[in-house]
Symmetry: C2
Subunit: 557 residues, 2 copies
C-alpha cells in the first residue's frame, strides 16, 4: 500500500461498520455503543414515544409468532427476514418486552408434560431383566421408547423452535448471538427466572452450533480487507490498538494474528490471538508493543501469546478458545522450520544431531494480565480490617491474630518495611490497613514513590503468587485468565513486577503480569491433572514466593 492510501485509511474512523442485512448490532454491544445511531434507540420511552413503541412492538411480536407456528416444511425465509428486521428496529425497552414475552409465553405446555409423565410412570421400563427376543417384547418396548421420546420433546420449550429456525437462516447464528447479548444485558439489570432459564437454553444451543469442527482458523494479515482489520482494532480487549501503524506492526515481521470464524457469522472474528516472536520470554508488555525494529524471525526463540480477545458479548461463557492455542502452536511451528529441524531431518540422522544444539528451540509462552488479583486482594484486606474493627474494643490494635477468621496476610518484615516507607502517616495502623489505604485510590499514587514501590514489591509479588497458585473456587483457579490457560494445559512460569504500567493493569493487578508456558509435550497431561485434581503446575521460582522465607532470604529482603 502506498503512503497516500495509508494516510486515507488512517483518517477513516477506526470502528467496525455492522450495517449489513441481518447483521445489525446488539444495543448492548460495547463496541457499538460508540455509534450514535444505535444508542438513539435506547431513548423514546416517554410521551409520544410510548405509542410509537407500542405500534412498532406488535408487528414484531406477530412475526415472531409466525416463525414459531409455521410447519417445518414451509418456506421460512421471508418470515424470518421480517422478524429479524423487525427485531433490529425495536428500542431496547421493546426488545426487553419481547424477550420476556418469549420466555414466559412460549415456554412448555406443562399440562401436556404432566399428562405424559402420568403415561410414562404407568409403563414398565426396559431393565436388564428384559431379554431381547420376543416380538411382543420389542413391541411394548417400542411403545415405551415412543412415550419417553414424547416426554423428552414435551419438555423442550417452544422458544427452542424459534432458535432452531433462526439457525437455519444463512446469517441466523449472528442474529442469535445478538439476541443473547440482549438477554444478558437485561439480566444484568435484574434477575428474571424465566429469562435466565431461556438464556441457559440458548447458551446450550449456541455451544452445540459453535462446535470446534465448525470454526475456521484464519491468519489475519495486512492483506486482509480494511473492514476486517478495523474490527480487530475495535475488538482488541487486552492492549488497545492506538492506530493503523500500531495494527500494521502487530501483523508485520515477527508478529502473527489468528482468528476463529464461523460461516454463519460472516466477517466477524469470534476470538483472536496475537503472537510475538521474540528472543526471550518478555517480562513487560513494553518489550512486546514497542520493540522497534523487531528482531529477525530466524533469531526468535519464543512465540509469545500477548493478547487473546473474545469479541461477542452474546457468546459469553462459551469456550471458543479451547482448541485455539493448540492449533496456533501447530501453525506457528509449521511456519518456522528453522526452529523445528526435525521436520527436515530424520531425528536420529547425524546431521540432525550435529545441528540440534545450534537450533534454538521455540518456547510457547504468554504474557498475561491477572484481572482478578487486585479485586481479590482489596476485598481480602477490607474484610480483615472490618473484622479487626469489630473486635477492636477487646484487643490491642497490634495483635489481632487471636481473632477467629482473622489472618494477617503480611509477613512481619513486609509490615515493617511498609510502615517504614510511609513514616508518621501510619500511626497506629496495621500493615494491612496501610496496604488497603495505599492500594484503594484509583489514582495509583504509590507508583510514583520509589520508597513505597520497593516496600510493596515483596508482599504484592508474594500475594500474587499465592492468588495464582492457591486461591481456588470449586477446585479451579479463581483468576479467569489463569483458569483459561491452565485448563488448556499451560503452567505458571514467572510473575513480573511492573510489567504493565497502564491504568487498567494497575487496577487489575498492581501492574504485575504473568508468563504461562505451554510445553507441547505436556499440554494434555497438565490439562488433565488440572481438571481431575485441580493441580496447578508452576516453576520453582513462582512456587518459592508461596513458601515461608528462609532466614537468609529474610536478611536480603
Amino acid at each position: 500500500m502506498n503512503k497516500k492510501a495509508l494516510a486515507i485509511l488512517m483518517r477513516a474512523r477506526m470502528r467496525p461498520n455492522h450495517h449489513t442485512n441481518l447483521a445489525l448490532p446488539p444495543i448492548s454491544n460495547e463496541v457499538n455503543q460508540l455509534l450514535p445511531n444505535s444508542r438513539g434507540n435506547r431513548s423514546g420511552s416517554n410521551g409520544n414515544g410510548n405509542l410509537n413503541n407500542q405500534r412498532s412492538f406488535e408487528p414484531v411480536r406477530e412475526s415472531m409468532h409466525s416463525v414459531i407456528l409455521m410447519h417445518k416444511t414451509e418456506v421460512l425465509d421471508s418470515v424470518l427476514n421480517d422478524f429479524s428486521e423487525g427485531y433490529f428496529s425495536l428500542s431496547f425497552e421493546n426488545r426487553r418486552k419481547l424477550l420476556i414475552t418469549l420466555s414466559k409465553e412460549y415456554d412448555l405446555n406443562r399440562t401436556q408434560v404432566c399428562e405424559l409423565i402420568k403415561q410414562y410412570l404407568g409403563l414398565k421400563s426396559p431393565g436388564n431383566e428384559v431379554q431381547s427376543g420376543g416380538v411382543e417384547d420389542e413391541c411394548s418396548l417400542s411403545t415405551f421408547y415412543r412415550i419417553e421420546r414424547n416426554l423428552r420433546h414435551s419438555l423442550k420449550p417452544v422458544y427452542e423452535t424459534l432458535f432452531e429456525r433462526i439457525n437455519t437462516h444463512s446469517e441466523g447464528l449472528k442474529f442469535l448471538t445478538i439476541l443473547r447479548a440482549d438477554i444478558l444485558s437485561i439480566l444484568v439489570e435484574g434477575n428474571i427466572a424465566s429469562l435466565r432459564a431461556m438464556d441457559s437454553n440458548l447458551k446450550d444451543k449456541l455451544s452445540t452450533w459453535l462446535t470446534p469442527a465448525a470454526l475456521e482458523l484464519h491468519q489475519i494479515t495486512w492483506a486482509d480487507p480494511a473492514s476486517l482489520l478495523e474490527k480487530i482494532v475495535a475488538y482488541e480487549a487486552v492492549h488497545p490498538i492506538s492506530n493503523l501503524i500500531d495494527l500494521k506492526r502487530r501483523l508485520g515481521v515477527g508478529r502473527r494474528c489468528f482468528a476463529y470464524f464461523h460461516s454463519a457469522i460472516p466477517c466477524e472474528p469470534l476470538i483472536f490471538i496475537e503472537v510475538a516472536l521474540l528472543k526471550n520470554i518478555a517480562e513487560t508488555i513494553q518489550e512486546v508493543l514497542w520493540d522497534n525494529p523487531p528482531i529477525a524471525e530466524s533469531e526468535a526463540a519464543c512465540a509469545l501469546f500477548y493478547s487473546i480477545s473474545s469479541t461477542q458479548p452474546g457468546l459469553a461463557g462459551i469456550n471458543l478458545g479451547k482448541f485455539l492455542i493448540k492449533r496456533v502452536i501447530t501453525l506457528v511451528k509449521r511456519d518456522m522450520p528453522h526452529i523445528s529441524p526435525s521436520r527436515y531431518f530424520n531425528r536420529f540422522s547425524k546431521i540432525y544431531l550435529a545441528l540440534y544444539r545450534t537450533f534454538p528451540r521455540l518456547v510457547f509462552a504468554t504474557l498475561s494480565p491477572i484481572p482478578g488479583f487486585m479485586p481479590w486482594l482489596i476485598s481480602k484486606l477490607a474484610s480483615q480490617s472490618r473484622l479487626a474493627e469489630a473486635e477492636d474494643i477487646s484487643c490491642s490494635s497490634a495483635d489481632k491474630s487471636g481473632l477467629p477468621f482473622y489472618e494477617n496476610i503480611l509477613e512481619p518484615e513486609e509490615e515493617r518495611a511498609l510502615i517504614d516507607s510511609l513514616g508518621d502517616l501510619t500511626a497506629g495502623k496495621s500493615g494491612m490497613e496501610i496496604l488497603l489505604n495505599v492500594l484503594t485510590p484509583t489514582t495509583h499514587d504509590w507508583i510514583n514513590s520509589d520508597k513505597l514501590l520497593s516496600a510493596l514489591k515483596s508482599p504484592l509479588m508474594r500475594l500474587c503468587a499465592r492468588y495464582l497458585l492457591q486461591e481456588k473456587k470449586r477446585g479451579k483457579a479463581l483468576d479467569s485468565v489463569a483458569n483459561f490457560h491452565l485448563q488448556n494445559g499451560a503452567m505458571v512460569q514467572r510473575i513480573n513486577w511492573m510489567a504493565d504500567r497502564s491504568e487498567k493493569a494497575l487496577s487489575q493487578s498492581a501492574g504485575i503480569m504473568v508468563n504461562y508456558v505451554y510445553r507441547p509435550e505436556n499440554i494434555n497431561e497438565y490439562a488433565q491433572s488440572y481438571f481431575i485434581k485441580g493441580h496447578i503446575h508452576s516453576s520453582d521460582d513462582v512456587k518459592r514466593y508461596t513458601q515461608p522465607l528462609t532466614e537468609n532470604e529474610c536478611k536480603n529482603s
Copy 2:
C-alpha cells in the same frame, strides 16, 4: 486436458476411493459393496474368527466408553481417534453388537428420571397467576426452572453425549453418517426397539447439524478434482453415468451440475442435481442424455432438472434437497442473463418492452422417474384379482362389480382393447388379470409388441395420472419423488409415454416419466397449499386423464 491424460483417466476404475483417515466406508454403503476389501469384513463369524472378533471388539467398546465418560474440558482428540479407528476395523457382526450395546447400556438413568419427576411434580409451576415482581417469586421460580432443566437433561440418553462429542471432531459428522448407515442396515434385518430409538435420536441430531445454513452449494465442473468427479459417477442414482466421456458431457456446454457440501464431511457431495439447458421441456430421457452436439446455451428456453441423487445412506430421511432447487434456480438464472432481460433493463423501460417478446423466458422443469407407480399398480391388480378369486364361486367371471371392495380400475374400452390385442390367449380372463399377467414378468416382453403397446398406453397413462394426482398417504402424494417436488412447490405438468426404456424405468413406471414444472412466482404458494391442504397443482392435460372420457374421446380411443 490432453487426449493422453484423458485416456489414462478413463482406464482408471470409476469408483470412489474412501480410504482417508476418518472416512472409511460404512459396510452397508451400496457403492462400497463394490469394493472387495470392505465386503471381506462381513465374514469371519465362525471358527477362529469368533475369538478374533471378541479380541477386536473389547478395545473398541472400551474406547467408546472413554469417549462418553471423559469430562468435557478434557482433550478428546486422541480418544476419539482411537474409537473411530477401532470402529472401522470391526466386522459387521461386531459393529452390530457394539451399536446394540450402545443403545441399551448407554441409555437413560431411569432411576434418576423418576426421582426428578417426583421432585418436579411436587413444585408449583409458573402459571399466568404468577405476576412478575417479588424477589421471592423469582427465587422459587428459579428453583422450578432448575429442576425442569435437570429433568430435561436426565431424559437425554447417554449415547447423545457420544454423538455430540464425535461431532466436535473435525470429520466427526462423516463418522456419524457412517454410524447411522450401519444402524439402518441392522434395522433392515429386524426391529430392535432400543436401536430404533437410538436411530431416531441420531437422526434428529444430524438434522440439526446439517442445517441449510451449514451446507455449501458448489457447481461441479470438469475443472474439479478427479477424486470428486469419480464420486459423482459412483453416486449417480437416477441415470447411471457410463464413462468419463458421458460425465464430461454432463458437465459441458448446455449442462450444469450442483452439489451440496458440508465442511465436516469433506470431499463428499451430499446431494447433487444435474441440469440440462434445452429448447423445450424434454419428453424422453434420450433427448437429454444423447443430444449431441448440444444446442447453444443462448437458444435454451428450458432448464431441465433431469437427475437428483442423495449419496449418503446414513442421511436417509433428512431432507437436504429442501432448499437446493430454489438455490439452483437462482444460480442458473444469474448465469444466463439473455434469459432474464429484467436484470439489465428497467422492467418498464422502452427497450425492455421492445425486447421482451424476443427474449425467450426460461422454464424450470424436471424429467422425473415415478418409482412407485408399477409397485402400486401391480399390488392393486393383485389384490383385486385375489378378491375376485375368493368370490369366484358365486359370481360370473365377467361381472364382479357387485363385490364389496372390488373396483375395476380399467375402463370398458381399455379392457376391450387389451383383450383384442392378445386374442385367444386371454380366454375367460378379466382385463385386470390380463394386465397383471402382462406387467408382472421382469422381462418386459410387452414393449416388443406394437399391438400390445398401443393397447396399454391408454390405461397406463390414465392410471399413472391417477397415481400421481390422487393416490395419497397421510394427505401427501404416495410417490416419493412426487412428494419431494410437490413439497418444494412444483406442479405436475405432463406425463410422457415411453420416456425411458431402461430396465429400471420399465420396472418402476412402465417407462413413463413425468415433467414437474417450477414457476418461481408460484413456488411458495404451491408449497404451502400442498402442505396445508394436500393440494396437488397440475396442468389441464394431466388432469384430463383422470376425468371420465367424453363420448367423443371414447370413439377416438
